[in-house]
């Protein structure tokens, strides 16, 4: 029972990190219609930044904050490349973000080398009902919960958040009432970078990050995001938690070598089921 509980909490922590990546994808896709392939890159940039800043002797807190801001800047730059030019179709933008992801490899290798790096997180563990839980896992869960609450408040209560939602639901109408859709798209990319950065900062102490970790991160994040059809963050959150718990359980109970296949297979099945419910017309007009 205690093993089960610790797998469950570990799984929830992994799922939370996936959820942050997925929420970034959803935010960008809702506002701009672009699936951002470089979403995993933001997490990698933030993770590598943290490890460097901590290594240089900067205190905790400041290092993490700076790393998340660096990821947000990376998000903004990606946005400029992907939607900065007028008339770029969403599929062309996807390919551009793919290019940004590969370009980031070059930059990351120059700055940090090609070996995985880690960063110290919260040390120690607590015992809950006989199960040992790393404090870092609890931190991941707590920060993710806070982030989602803040996101909900931002989209529901602030003028800027409502403007973003307006762009998501009807770009034309949003433009009519004086919202700059392109600027909102860039804002969404920066927000996506911020969310990816938070995920990266939280994950780096748990598992070492190297420049090509982004593929695993983006694939897991995308798998979670498709649960919510790339538009509903709350369902994406549940998808991510399910994915995290399923992967950790599979690893914990001896199917560890197949956890990637489980996640990817699940994602493909969900997408195919969803595609069966959509008609070609609705997709072509969007």
């Amino acid at each position: 029972m205690s093993a089960f509980l610790s797998y469950l909490l570990n799984g929830l922590a992994v799922g939370c990190a996936i959820a942050l990546i997925a929420s970034g994808l959803v935010t960008i896709h809702r506002v701009t219609g672009v699936v951002n392939f470089a979403q995993g890159t933001f997490a990698v940039v933030a993770g590598l930044c943290t490890s460097s800043l901590l290594g240089l002797g900067f205190p905790h807190g400041l290092s993490e904050l700076a790393a998340v801001l660096a990821a947000a800047v990376a998000g903004l730059l990606t946005g400029l490349a992907a939607i900065g030019k007028r008339g770029t179709t969403p599929l062309a933008s996807l390919i551009v973000t793919l290019g940004v992801g590969v370009l980031a490899y070059a930059v990351e290798i120059v700055l940090w080398g090609d070996q995985p790096r880690s960063a110290p997180g919260l040390a120690g563990s607590v015992t809950v009902a006989g199960a040992h839980i790393q404090t870092q896992h609890l931190l991941v869960i707590g920060v993710t919960a806070a982030t989602f609450v803040l996101l909900a408040l931002f989209f529901g209560r602030t003028y800027l958040g409502k403007a973003l939602t307006a762009c998501a639901s009807n770009p034309y109408a949003a433009r009519v009432v004086g919202i700059d859709v392109r600027r909102m798209g860039l804002l969404a990319f920066a927000l996506g970078g911020l969310l990816g950065g938070i995920a990266g900062v939280l994950v780096t102490p748990l598992r070492p990050i190297s420049f090509d970790t982004d593929v695993t991160l983006i694939v897991n994040g995308f798998a979670a995001a498709v649960f919510g059809a790339l538009t509903r963050p709350v369902i994406a959150l549940f998808g991510a938690l399910l994915l995290g718990v399923a992967e950790t359980m599979a690893a914990g109970y001896g199917y560890g070598s197949h956890q990637l296949e489980v996640a990817l297979g699940l994602m493909i099945i969900v997408m195919i089921v969803q595609a069966g419910r959509r008609s070609a017309i609705s997709e072509e007009t969007v």
């Binding site: 030019k85 590969v102 070609a280 072509e284």
Partner: protein, 322 residues
């Protein structure tokens, strides 16, 4: 005028292709062979993206299937020719099987699903017993036909470029046929194509399988040439590389695949030489090649969306811009 220019240009290209292997040294031949193999796979990607309007980020998976099929068969004592012919067939069968559910997806969903497929296959190949795990398969016999054994690189160069010629001929015939026009129609609007009586699902599946066949053929030649296959030979980046080549050359043009593969391969090779000059850091080759792939892809997608071949040929393309 063009009636004479075209065959003349074609003859010139063919002559240069045939003469080159005899004059190049071994390291240049290696580049020449890999270029030809990349062009074969890219021809399939270009067909799939340009005509069926579908993006596959998992073309490397079909390449790997072709390579593993030929390797396993010839290690099992089957004549190499059978192995080489089985490679494209295995890739096509696999594409037909997984394409049936996968091609219900479109756009970014399909892109991610094909990427996932490649990741799953690589992970399986790295774990299974009969594929040799992460170490892969080694000591694959040389390609031979009767008493002739292809021992030198020049023989593989001829094999590769003969394969490319076949692939280009098939592509030419497909796109100038009635199904080719149907494919162009469904790339612009599936709904409109379906309402004019085009069996959309079946055509998409066939093109998907055809592009896999090309990749499988290239994989088969590759395994005989290197004598070694492992999961590490087929990273995700290789699939992205084919997209870059197809986009650079011009989607849906027959020569685009060759031009794109040539441009990117030569560019990367040139930079590699630059990066291995004394005084350059050890990471320079990989950094430069990542940077080149990325920048070329971004610039071409944004500023030259139809690729090099249509942009350079003066005759305006009558096909509407997609």
């Amino acid at each position: 005028m063009t009636r004479f220019v075209r065959p003349a240009a074609l003859l010139l290209v063919a002559a240069v292709t045939l003469v080159l292997p005899a004059t190049l040294d071994d390291s240049a031949l290696a580049v020449y062979i890999l270029l030809g193999l990349a062009a074969i796979v890219t021809a399939g990607v270009s067909l799939l993206m340009g005509y069926a309007g579908q993006v596959s980020l998992g073309q490397g998976a079909f390449y790997a299937i072709g390579a593993y099929t030929a390797a396993l068969l010839s290690l099992g004592g089957v004549p190499p020719l059978v192995g080489l012919l089985a490679a494209p067939v295995a890739a096509a069968v696999f594409a037909l099987v997984i394409g049936t559910p996968l091609l219900r997806l479109r756009g970014h969903h399909l892109a991610f699903a094909t990427l996932a497929m490649q990741l799953i296959l690589l992970s399986l190949a790295g774990q299974l017993e009969f594929t040799g795990g992460d170490i892969g398969l080694q000591a694959i016999p040389q390609f031979s036909l009767g008493s002739f054994e292809a021992s030198g690189a020049a023989a593989y160069a001829y094999m590769t470029w003969a394969g490319l010629a076949v692939v280009m001929l098939i592509t030419h015939n497909v796109i100038s046929s009635r199904p080719g026009r149907a494919l162009r129609a469904l790339a612009t609007s599936e709904t409109a194509a379906a309402s004019s009586g085009i069996p959309v699902g079946r055509y998409k599946l066939v093109v998907f399988a055809l592009s896999a066949t090309f990749a499988g053929l290239a994989g088969g030649i590759y395994c005989f040439y290197t004598g070694y296959v492992a999961p590490g030979s087929f990273p995700v980046l290789i699939s992205i590389q084919y997209i870059v080549m197809a986009v650079v050359g011009g989607l849906g043009t027959i020569w685009g695949a060759v031009v794109g593969a040539t441009a990117i391969t030569l560019l990367v090779q040139g930079l590699d030489r630059l990066a291995s000059l004394p005084g350059m850091p050890t990471y320079a080759p990989s950094v430069l090649s990542y940077a080149v792939y990325a920048l070329v892809l971004i610039v071409v997608v944004l500023f030259m969306p139809r690729g090099l071949v249509p942009a350079l040929s003066r005759r305006p393309d009558r096909r509407p811009r997609r």
